[in-house]
């Protein structure tokens, strides 16, 4: 079995990945640094439990996903709703969402229209290229649920790209 890497090795190799994962999971740019820092501090404690025979990225993603979930819930409670990750439920919300996310690039803006549970599967599958059975295992969900979320997320993402590319920019 390969040795467990130490924290600095993981940081060097995966800092970019963790940073981008938080952004893809809807964490505001202003909070990405804090959450990345928090994750690596937690990792110091958790690394001894990591199985080095398995890829580290899905493991890191799961940590980031749970942190993003808590972070977004906390933000929602604090009524800081400028960039929260809920799928809009009305055309008015949709318009607000489009306006609020103009400054972000198209992928991240489109991801904002995908509900977080679906988005996690989508990011792992279609960006990180993780096999769906492994995604189901990492997220602790049934395989069929993983496939279902991926299908719906792809629809949401595609619709969002379509919508955003047709919207006039302010």
């Amino acid at each position: 079995m390969p040795p467990v890497p130490d924290l600095s090795e993981v940081f060097r190799a995966e800092c970019d990945y963790v940073w981008n994962t938080f952004r893809r999971l809807g964490v505001r740019d202003a909070d990405v640094k804090d959450l990345t820092q928090e994750l690596f501090i937690s990792l110091q404690r958790l690394l001894p439990t990591y199985d080095p025979s398995r890829p580290i990225r899905p493991w890191l993603f799961t940590m980031a996903y749970r942190m993003a979930l808590r972070h977004n819930e906390r933000r929602r409670r604090e009524h800081l709703t400028d960039e929260i990750v809920d799928t809009p439920d009305s055309s008015e919300d949709l318009e607000k969402k489009v306006a609020a996310s103009e400054s972000r690039d198209l992928v991240l803006r489109a991801l904002d229209f995908v509900e977080l549970e679906r988005r996690a599967v989508f990011v792992l599958a279609d960006i990180d290229e993780t096999p769906v059975p492994e995604i189901a295992d990492q997220l602790g969900i049934p395989l069929n649920t993983a496939y279902s979320r991926l299908r719906l997320a792809r629809q949401d993402f595609r619709s969002a790209v379509k919508r955003l590319t047709k919207e006039p920019r302010s």
């Binding site: 800092c15 001894p48 199985d51």
Partner: protein
């Protein structure tokens, strides 16, 4: 939307995702700042060798193993030993009593491999003699920070007043480390005794989740699978957002 437009949309989505896969992360300056912040946030004595002035450099694979071992050796932990009778395999109640009793202090090497997967190793060798008898109860539950070797071994452990939150946390850490060390050498009785001591001394402590992880891993190792699964289910119910949940789930997965 026409077929042509649909096709263009498909191409756009594909190219967007491909571009996202190539996305760069933070700048080098941000990475350097970030690592400094991570180091500052680590508990005393836990800071590993960080990335040097070039944090983006590829790890030195030729020395990776030795570095990991070296780091592990420098992360000495002050663990509380349950005494030689524990090694002899005394019964659980007796062990529990010994755990709760004034401990003998030893230093053990922290395993470089994950505790849960470590090959049972030899019993840790005490490297310092037990402290002289003391009537000061504040000293009784706290591992000594005396080191036999003059080799620097990380940041010194700060003295904390007995009964303070820091003292309780230190006690929790000691018991947890003791349990993990016991599990690493295959001594599930001692590991469960440490769990029991944690439940008794710090039922609502700061390391409750870590305690439960240790309990589940130990029960699995002891082939008490049904108990492990019950405990894992409780963990999932009580801490659904815990970053340790995947560890617990891994432990009880077939």
């Amino acid at each position: 939307m026409s077929d042509l437009e649909e096709e263009r949309l498909d191409q756009l989505v594909s190219s967007l995702l491909e571009g996202e896969r190539q996305r760069k992360g933070p700048s080098e300056t941000q990475i350097t700042d970030l690592w400094s912040a991570v180091e500052r946030g680590l508990p005393p004595g836990a800071a590993p060798d960080g990335p040097d002035a070039s944090p983006q450099e590829a790890p030195d694979v030729t020395t990776g193993t030795s570095r990991a071992i070296d780091t592990a050796l420098r992360w000495k932990i002050g663990a509380v030993a349950v005494g030689s009778a524990l090694i002899g395999g005394a019964g659980g109640a007796w062990v529990h009593a010994q755990v709760a009793a004034t401990p003998q202090v030893v230093y053990v090497e922290r395993p470089a491999q994950p505790v849960a997967m470590a090959t049972p190793a030899a019993t840790p060798t005490p490297v310092i003699p037990p402290p002289p008898p003391s009537s000061n109860e504040a000293d009784a539950g706290r591992p000594s920070t005396t080191k036999r070797s003059s080799v620097p071994r990380g940041r010194p452990v700060p003295e904390v007043p007995s009964g303070s939150p820091d003292a309780l946390l230190a006690r929790e850490r000691s018991l947890l480390d003791m349990g993990r060390t016991a599990l690493a050498r295959g001594d599930t009785s001692a590991a469960l005794a440490a769990v029991a001591a944690l439940e008794k001394e710090a039922p609502h402590g700061q390391l409750v989740e870590e305690r439960e992880v240790l309990a589940v891993q130990t029960l699995v190792t002891a082939n008490r699978t049904a108990e492990a699964r019950r405990r894992a289910a409780l963990f999932k119910m009580n801490y659904p957002s815990s970053p340790l949940l995947p560890v617990v789930e891994d432990a009880v997965s077939p």
